[in-house]
Symmetry: C2
Subunit: 258 residues, 2 copies
């Protein structure tokens, strides 16, 4: 029981940083990861068992299934975890965290681009072709991805390489955080819109709430709970990462990128 | 030009509270209100001109139109403004702001209940009846309203009457703020889901992006921009209301509800 407590509640952290009250932090992180994995499993089951699995251009109808799966992995699960990395690995050096943050979001972007290719192919290669980008889902999703790409490039240039002057970085940081979190919530909204419109298209007896309908609704709720937990971890002031001595030292020495 | 600047940028505020940097605050508030009114106008036009206007039980199909209109007025526009009231009327006494906050949210709740009655009626009185509460939109919307009702009652009991002890109020406040903002974002998400599913149901040529399809997509974007502006005003630390002398005095004297 003591081991479980120490595993869940960061007792060592409290000793190292007595000024931080991290009670419940670790438990919430584990819960967030568990819900995130439930999201991936529910989406995996939906695309594989209910919607027929995967193909690439040989079968545009099945190629479509890569779209919700890759978007959920990239723009929900990895995006959310990329935001959380400064909280979860709070005792690591900041430069390492920045590189990991940038790398995770690059991975999310690559998955999103493949996911976009899948949906465009599935529309364009259909006989007859299905028009692209006409629903509210597609508009919100496209805005989320464009915002995400801008954020990634401006984050790289500002905080990693070449790196802005400290004063400029300090004033850009809240903007980066606001649009980063805003982009995440836009991606969450886009995913719910996409799930709902697909449900209306393919679950012909949705109004009788068959097993697939219930599955899809619970998938949507799981995404909302994941997003709420990420937001809780990110907005709670006492969970904020505090600078470790190395960060300060390197900043004072003017080493860019720390 | 000077008048416009002073009207938009709170110069008097800067003099009274030199420690607060409110640059851009008033401009953002006006922009938020303008976008909020655009949302109401776009929803008004959609329900009136495109969807045939309003009736009550004599015509369940038209009774439905009260649902999106009242939900948008109550759970988006008034809810958002109720959150902002502590920022916008920052020099008023806190007790007055609390009463206004509670009253606006009560009004939002009443409108939402009438809006719910309209959708249940339009389903139940249809021939044949349409099942209720089966889509993801309905699940997210119902959760948002139940959360909202709990928040309203616990906010009243904690902060207005009878009022908890100061220490309990202080620890409940961040919870109230988190679920208040979370409920607002849930309501925004529910509204987008509702708009999208209605669009798929009634705009039979949605894929050709007719005028009504464009109208609906821009309505969705306007709601997202309104929500983003509300979030910006609420989360920017320098826009936070700071206590005025009366607040402190009354708190020290232990007068409950201040």
């Amino acid at each position: 029981m003591t081991e479980l407590r120490s595993f869940l509640f960061y007792p060592d952290m409290d000793q190292e940083f007595p000024q931080q009250n991290l009670e419940g932090f670790n438990l919430t992180v584990w819960l967030t990861e568990a819900v995130g994995i439930v999201v991936l499993i529910l989406m995996g089951i939906w695309t594989t068992l209910y919607r027929g699995g995967f193909a690439w251009r040989s079968n545009p109808a099945l190629e479509f299934n890569w779209h919700p799966l890759l978007m959920t992995i990239g723009m929900i699960f990895i995006y959310g975890n990329g935001i959380l990395i400064y909280r979860v690995f709070r005792v690591r050096r900041k430069r390492k965290l920045k590189i990991a943050h940038a790398f995770m979001h690059l991975l999310a972007f690559v998955l999103a681009v493949i996911g976009l290719q899948a949906v465009f192919d599935s529309h364009n290669l259909n006989v007859p072709p299905i028009p692209n980008l006409y629903t509210l889902h597609s508009w919100v999703g496209l805005i989320a991805i464009i915002m995400f790409a801008f954020q990634w490039v401006s984050g790289l240039v500002s905080f990693l390489y070449p790196g802005l002057h400290v004063s400029l970085r300090t004033s850009y940081l809240p903007v980066h955080v606001f649009f980063g979190v805003g982009g995440f919530l836009s991606a969450v909204t886009a995913s719910l819109l996409g799930i709902l419109e697909k449900a209306h298209w393919v679950i012909t007896d949705y109004k009788d709430l068959p097993v697939e309908g219930l599955h899809v609704n619970f998938l949507g709720l799981a995404i909302i709970i994941f997003a709420a937990l990420v937001m809780f971890l990110v907005t709670t002031p006492r969970f904020k990462r505090i600078s470790i001595p190395e960060d300060e030292l390197l900043l004072k020495e003017g080493i860019v990128g720390e």
